[in-house]
């Protein structure tokens, strides 16, 4: 059987991976909540964040914190820009039009990166003291793991404060629930949507840093899988709900780590397949997710 330290180690791993999924899932979920848009370009913003962080690490002497924060700000801006240029002209259009556009935006971001920086993977090396595994008690983890979890939790706490304590944050929840009523209340929905994209994109950039640091290399298509998996996380938690996205992110992180850690090693190559099989299963037994707020309409 599995030893207790081994199990503890898996929990730690699940926590780190779950933090990344949760951060990406939040952005998908708030945008879906308001616009009913499955933003396929969201994962690509994670990629842009990772590339920006790499550029800062390689070319500047800025402290590490800046290499996390600056990409968040820039990518937040990029997210707003994408919304302004590609999605806003489609306000009121059928959902499928926005969906197709988000596929196109994803293609533009990926191919733009290929065109300017080539499709070759690049090494993403953080300072040794960040990624070295340290043994504390029975489990080992890197400083990056600790920072990732702490940062994710911190950002989620800030977001929670934002959506419960500020005018725009409350309006964001109101928009997610009933966009027309929100407009009738005098809420400038374009402004709220811009905020939603900025916040979601910034969180994706933070996740991009963590993802790149964890795997040590980045490439233009790296955002596809975490983006898609984060959507699974959002669906598990109940898409449209911010606490749901957080919960779903961590559940998915744990599920994936446990799948690899506790099942026969021959199966570990199937981990990505497992994630999407899980999606199908969740859709089968609890189609609205665990903490659903979005009432799903047929058709």
């Amino acid at each position: 059987m599995f030893s207790l330290p081994y199990i503890a180690q898996q929990v730690v791993n699940g926590l780190t991976l779950g933090s990344i999924y949760a951060l990406v899932a939040i952005g998908l979920s708030i945008v879906y909540g308001i616009l009913r848009l499955i933003n396929f370009a969201h994962g690509d913003l994670l990629m842009v964040g990772a590339y920006l962080a790499l550029a800062l690490l390689l070319n500047t002497a800025l402290p590490l914190g800046a290499a996390v924060l600056l990409p968040m700000i820039i990518v937040g801006g990029v997210g707003m820009l994408v919304e302004r240029l590609a999605y806003r002209p489609l306000r009121g259009a059928p959902e499928v039009a926005m969906l197709i556009t988000s596929l196109a935006v994803s293609s533009v971001i990926q191919n733009g990166t290929i065109m300017t920086l080539s499709a070759q993977p690049r090494a993403f090396r953080l300072p040794q003291e960040l990624i070295a595994q340290q043994k504390v008690g029975v489990v080992s983890f890197s400083t990056l793991d600790v920072l990732s979890v702490a940062m994710a939790v911190g950002l989620m706490a800030l977001l929670t404060l934002f959506v419960t304590r500020t005018r725009v944050g409350i309006a964001m929840r109101a928009c997610a629930e009933n966009l027309r009523a929100a407009r009738l209340m005098g809420i400038n929905i374009n402004q709220v949507i811009a905020y939603a994209f900025a916040i979601g994109s910034a969180l994706a950039a933070a996740a991009g840093f963590m993802w790149a640091g964890r795997f040590g290399s980045i490439e233009p298509f790296m955002g596809f899988l975490p983006g898609l998996k984060a959507f699974v996380a959002a669906v598990i938690g109940g898409i449209g709900s911010i606490p749901g996205a957080m919960l779903g992110g961590y559940l998915l992180g744990f599920a994936e780590i446990f799948f690899v850690g506790f099942l026969p090693p021959e199966l570990s190559g199937y981990r990505d397949a497992f994630v999407f099989a899980l999606l199908l299963l969740v859709l089968l037994v609890r189609p609205r997710g665990l903490l659903a707020t979005v009432a799903e309409r047929e058709g």
Partner: protein, 235 residues
Amino acid sequence: MLLEVENLSVYYDSIQALKGISLQVDEGELVTIVGSNGAGKTTTLLTISGILRPRRGTVRFQGQDITRLAPHEIVRRGISHCPEGRQIFTGLTVMENLLMGAYHRQDRDQVARDLAWVQELFPILAARRRQLAGTLSGGEQQMLAIARALMSCPKVLLLDEPSLGLAPMLVDTIFEVIQQLCAQGVTILLVEQNAYQALRVADRAYVLETGVIKLSGPAQELARNEEVKKAYLGG
């Protein structure tokens, strides 16, 4: 004239919902639009608030053309719309709902005073201000919807079917509140299927039928009109 609608034509795709209607609301008036289901009453209100775009015609407010303004601009100018079916934010608390009504306002003191005022108007909301709005009863939700609309400090309040789906006793309460608001000087444009109650409280009324205004005049007069009686007041 505070609010003037002129020759308004609205289409849903190729179906014409409003066929060139005109109406006016003067300062301090309680005006009602009565008509059966599908006559275009809600469409009229949604067009005034900027949610729907008319193909022809204009909406003027305080003499200015507001036809093409975004909904939030229209609210800012002083038109507040309490929508059909209440449409409160069920996942927000009662207090958060009220604050959303005052979203565009910067005058914190006045907002605080209005908060006190609407809670005085609807004491039940004060008692439940920390509760999620979805947990309120139907009547309480309607009161919240009206209170939320009042929080934008409107010059005109558009009320869409406030009595819809309420028990008869609650209907009376809601109409009392409407009269009370009117007495306090709030201008109201009321849309109702409950023509009996609406004509009882209103100053003037319009009868809307399949996108056309069939009759208009003082509410008392219309209440005595034979056609109106037959069609809307059950004989």
